[in-house]
Symmetry: C2
Subunit: 330 residues, 2 copies
């Protein structure tokens, strides 16, 4: 093995509202970083330029030159084309067919590894966080939708079209409410943070959640994870029940995943879980228990994500390292 002490890696997280680049050494110690607003509405060309500028700023902050970087990993939203290193479609940004890998590679010269943003986060938790070193890790992140990812025997589990683990879209309640993709009764239609916010807004409007009403009003945009957790803590029983109902469905998804993939660890992450880990995780675990075959009940651990927002950049950088090292050893 060659001396890798001077290998540097960049992790990039391309979000709907902000973008973040972090430069790491070979032990994933962060050396420098930069962030900007994404501003998807300014168009794809402008966006690709902003991405390159953030990378430059992070390199400057780390005092590392591009020629010292061995690879960059970037977690992106939307369906991807991993071979072409492009984003097929990012509805949140309004961008289509985004040649993101080529754009960065032609500017800086180092190889780029493109990954789904949730996959990058789950890989981060597998390498450095709640699923560290496990043979099979599944991540579930309830937010506006519900994202998922899986690391199996050290590598991302990938689908035929290079994307999978769309946990938010598995059916859990036939004839349930409609979700963002137009389907009825998907997991995200009944258990996303957005769905919880919707039910909570109704409760607040009806006068059944005074603490939530005082803190956040009845506009769904204002009912974020912190406000929901606050209301539960202060004693809004109806909000607690709404959260527990969502946990019931998250438990159904756990039952499905355990029976299909029997992972060693299921990691739950995202703002909602961070704000209410103590309520949500035991509720999910308990409600899943009796619906799992006895021989499979104890094969998995339920864990809260440990890295928060760092998971995405760390995972993306680690994916770049894995990809570059694999090619070197091939």
């Amino acid at each position: 093995m060659s001396d890798t002490s001077k290998d540097y890696w960049i992790g990039f997280d391309l979000g709907g509202t902000k973008m973040l680049a972090v430069v790491f050494d070979d032990d994933f110690k962060p050396l420098g970083k930069a962030r900007k607003k994404t501003k998807g509405n300014e168009g794809m060309e402008a966006g690709l330029k902003r991405i390159n500028n953030v990378i430059k700023d992070a390199l400057e902050d780390a005092k590392i030159s591009a020629s010292e970087v061995k690879g960059l990993g970037i977690g992106c939203p939307g369906p991807l084309d991993l071979k072409k290193k492009s984003i097929r479609s990012a509805p949140n940004l309004g961008w289509e067919n985004v040649p993101i890998g080529k754009s960065i590679e032609s500017e800086f010269g180092f190889p780029v590894t493109v990954a789904n943003d949730v996959d990058a986060g789950v890989f981060g938790e597998y390498k450095f966080g709640a699923g560290k070193g496990a043979r099979c890790v599944v991540g579930i992140f309830p937010g506006t939708g519900i994202g998922g990812g899986c690391v199996y025997e050290g590598k991302l589990f990938l689908g035929g079209n290079c994307t999978c683990m769309e946990i938010g879209h598995i059916p859990v309640q036939p004839d349930g409410p409609i979700d963002g993709a137009g389907n009825h009764g998907s997991l995200e239609s009944v258990a996303s943070r957005l769905t919880i916010a919707g039910h909570s807004a109704l409760a607040a409007y009806r006068g059944q959640a005074p603490h939530l009403l005082e803190k956040a009003g009845t506009d769904i945009s204002d009912i974020r994870s912190g406000a929901i957790a606050h209301a539960v803590e202060k004693g809004d029983k109806m909000i607690k029940e709404i959260v527990e109902d969502a946990c019931e469905y998250l438990a159904v998804s756990v039952v499905t995943i355990v029976h299909l993939m029997a992972p060693d660890v299921i990691v739950f992450g995202g703002g909602l879980i961070e704000a209410m880990e103590d309520i949500m995780l035991p509720t999910i675990k308990k409600r899943a228990y009796n619906r799992i075959l006895p021989s499979m009940r104890d094969v998995y651990q339920l864990a809260a994500a440990k890295l928060g927002d760092d998971a995405g950049v760390m995972g993306a950088a680690a994916l770049a390292q894995q990809s570059v090292r694999e090619r070197a050893n091939a």
Copy 2:
């Protein structure tokens, strides 16, 4: 690579009612075989002896000596301990902690690879049948229960306790009927061949399925796949509807599996599918379509199993070959 033209492999299928051994050459041409009734009720010791006798008979039929065999693969029911090469529990046979690998190895001297019976069948379809060469194949076999298996990048996808893809136990209908494991609304509670037989017996009893009544009566034990297919073909509309209702739920499991694993091929097999492929497969495909994200709708093929009962022995033998070759290359 060494000369493998003289490598022989044995595939063994241990079923609830019968056991089958087939001797193959290195190209998986069958050279000889033997079968016996399993007779689980005569006890585990007697059963292990019968297994060894069937292997001897198959070797004799193939005119091959045990010393020429490079490995044997055996597909077994029940939760397994793959490391110990044992069956933890086979309720159908009434056997517990069955040291099946050691029993065969100590008798014949060649290495034994133990696999879940459904996994062996799916591996057979991946190597030689409907999922030949695909990067990711999922098999679904609706019978008394509903078994599943997955081959991912050339190898069986395995869970933490060495077993997974328990597709029959994923929840598809909250508050649905009870299944054999005591769970409500699992896939097998609403879509197994046994469930279809149960609903069909009621229809026959009520006078709504004259062809089924004439052919098979109202005893669930007699309402096998052939009788169900016959009734549909002859015009028992109620039976057709019962089969289509089951397809609706099988479609839900397809939607779940496509979103989670995005396999290239989903293979449906077993007697029920064999008897009604033309009705069931298009119904499942059609009912799944609109519930799958547009970007994932066309990534998978739905296919009927091609090998029938041969899948299990061929897959088991191929698993033995893979395992022996891997150890040799390690």
